[in-house]
Every structure is written in C-alpha cells, then in structure tokens.
C-alpha cells in the first residue's frame, strides 16, 4: 500500500533571500515545462516560484 508523506516545508528550501543570486541557486528543480524555486519566508511559510523553463534558460 502506498504511504503518504507527513506535511513538511519544501525540502530544498533555504532561508528567505531577496536577491536574484539566491533565485539562481534554486532554479535546478523542474516540473514539466516549469522551473521551480522553493523558498521559506521569514515567518516560516513556504513560497514557491514557477517560471516557464524555456524562458528561464534564455
């Protein structure tokens, strides 16, 4: 039987950063045509940014 995961913050998320350099560090994950960046906000909430991957690579 398949087991579901317990809730958790995004595993790849690091502490929040407002810089573009930080964004590039996160731009490794892909989902379909999207590049996925995972962050954690100052108050601990998850923030995920999605961008069309072709545009991300350009």
């Amino acid at each position: 039987m398949a087991r579901k995961r317990h809730p958790q913050s995004p595993s790849s998320a690091a502490s929040e950063s407002a810089g573009e350099e930080r964004r590039e560090e996160h731009a490794q994950e892909r989902f379909g045509p999207l590049a996925v960046e995972r962050h954690v906000k100052d108050d601990g909430r998850a923030l995920i940014l999605y961008a069309h991957a072709e545009r991300e690579r350009a």
């Binding site: 929040e16 906000k41 923030l47």
Partner: protein, 320 residues
C-alpha cells in the same frame, strides 16, 4: 490554528478559523500584498522584483499542517488583468502549477482532498483584486465532491462521463468545445450561467492529463471566462471550482489505496472538471441564497439553462 467542529444536524464539518477575521481586506492599489516587492516599495508576500507564477502558504489559513493546507496561487506579477487576460503560455503553465500542487499536497498524510479554486469579484467575497486563486487541502472529504462520488454509485459509473455524453447528445446547453474539453450549462444548473467544463476523456485528475490536454484545458477555460466578461460587458464575478479525484488513502478515510508519489491516484472516483458558479442573473442583478436555498436546500432559478446557453454561446463567440 483553526478548529473543526462537526455539525450533527447537517452531518457536516464547520471550520473555525477566527484569525481570518484580521486578514487583509481590499487594500489600496499601492499596498497589494500579491504584487512583487519592488525596490523602494512596500514589502509584499513575494520578496522579489518580478515573478511569473507564485504559490505561498496563506498567512491567514483556513487549514494548515498537520491538519490540511491553504495556499495562494498568484497568476502574474501584474496587478491588473485576470485569468482571462493571461497570455496563453502563462495560462498553460498555470495548469502545470495546479498539477504540481495536486501532486504534492495530495501526497500528504493529512490531506484527503485537494481543492483548487478561484473567487473572482467582490460579489463572491474577493478581498484582493490581484489575479490569483487558492488551494485548500482538506483533512477530510468535503461534502460536494462526496456527492459526486455518490452520483457515480447512483449512475453505475462515472457521473461526469455520463452527464457529458447526455449533454453532447442533446446539444442545447453546450457553450464551448475543443478537442479536450466540453463546456455546458448543466440540465439542472443552480445558477443562471453555471458552467461545467469537463475533460472529454476520463481523466480522474490533472496528473492523468496529457500535456496537450492541459494546453486545451487552459484554452477552454480562458475562452469561457472571456465569454463571461463579454456577456454583460463587465468583469464577470464567479467561483471557479476544480473537481478531481480525492487523494485520501484507505487508512485515512476509507477510500481506495492511493498510488505512490509521482503516479496518478488509482482510486475509483473522480473525473477532472471545472465548475463555475456566477452569481449574476442579469447585468445588474445577483442571485441570492435566501430562504429556500439556505433553509430548505432547494435552489429556485429565474432562468432556463437552455436559454442562458444561447446567450452565453453568443458571448463566447463574440469574445473569441
């Protein structure tokens, strides 16, 4: 932290999230929390100067871990516009974001049903005008999708499949079609311009769709909403509800076992479709839920679905 209480008389859960009383309410244009954080500007929920699509945990959640989830999905960093005015590629990307959230939230132990929705317009209680939707991860099976599963039982198979086939055969209530979706005002619609946009093929969830189907789903939704806006030549308020297969495991809710992460749910019920509940019955008249609807649970409609479908079809054609 919210609290669930079971209403014995109605047999339903009520969620008490009293912290939401303090949530941001119709802020001024320059203080929109869903805008990007621009240099020299006020901080927002998204601390970057630009973005395409952003998802974050709601600051004022109706549900939160370990008893569910509440997320905000921001469609664009532009404050103006709507789902209908998104570029085609962005709308298609949004379908992939929905799919990603369905996959990740549905895999959680504490979530039995992933509900993607959008409230549009102050008429349905919108508190922020920036184009966005929401996702609730319910820690129980909510009653409306449960009723759809009950309809499967009653009809002896997939109810949306059977109803779509009947609508295609009848034809009078169809408002839009493409190769992947069929949109119609249901035979027994509650709202004057209620529309169900249904996947032609039996797709329990977004995870079961081919990429081409996601593209056509986005296209069909945009065509419909543009038609809505054209209908009375004004932004058309609505509630948009994405119905899919439950993600509950047999352990958590008595449903069938769920497939491993990254594979579609394999339970019996569910057929991906999007329901729209617009409160307008004319350009300036709202349908209210009053005595019969609230006290007896019976909708009284002032319009016939067949007649509404004619005008909505024309509006969609006009807008495309």
């Amino acid at each position: 932290m919210s609290e669930l209480r079971f209403n014995e008389l109605r047999g339903e859960q009520v969620d008490y999230a009293i912290h939401r009383q303090e949530r941001t309410f119709l802020p001024s244009r320059e203080h929109c929390p869903l805008d990007p954080t621009r240099p020299g500007g006020p901080p927002t929920e998204i601390p970057f100067p630009s973005f395409e699509i952003a998802v974050f945990e709601n600051r004022f959640p109706a549900f939160e871990a370990p008893h569910g989830a509440a997320e905000v999905v921001v469609y664009t960093d532009s404050h103006e516009g709507s789902f209908a005015t998104l570029p085609e590629q962005r709308a298609e990307d949004l379908m992939w974001v929905w799919r990603n959230r369905y996959l990740e939230l549905g895999a959680r132990e504490d979530i039995d049903y992933v509900f993607i929705f959008e409230n549009r317009g102050v008429e349905v209680g919108v508190t922020l005008h920036h184009p966005h939707g929401q996702i609730y991860g319910y820690p129980f099976m909510p009653p409306v999708p449960a009723l759809e599963l009950a309809a499967d039982e009653r009809l002896g198979g997939c109810a949306p499949c059977a109803l779509m086939a009947a609508e295609l055969q009848d034809g009078r209530r169809l408002v839009h079609e493409n190769a992947a979706v069929v949109a119609y005002i249901p035979f027994a619609a509650r709202w004057a311009y209620e529309v169900h946009l249904v996947m032609r093929e039996h797709r329990p969830s977004l995870l079961d769709c081919e990429p081409q189907e996601l593209r056509l789903l986005a296209s069909g939704l945009q065509e419909l909403v543009r038609g809505y806006d054209s209908l009375f030549r004004r932004p058309f308020p609505y509630v948009m509800a994405v119905h899919q297969a439950p993600t509950a495991t047999s352990q958590s809710s008595g449903a069938d076992a769920r497939a491993p992460l990254a594979a579609p749910p394999r339970r019996g019920g569910g057929h991906l479709h999007v329901e729209f509940y617009p409160p307008l019955r004319t350009a300036d008249k709202l349908k209210y839920l009053a005595g019969s609807e609230q006290g007896a649970g019976t909708f009284i409609s002032d319009t016939l679905p067949e007649e509404s479908a004619v005008t909505l079809r024309e509006a969609i054609a006009r807008a495309s």
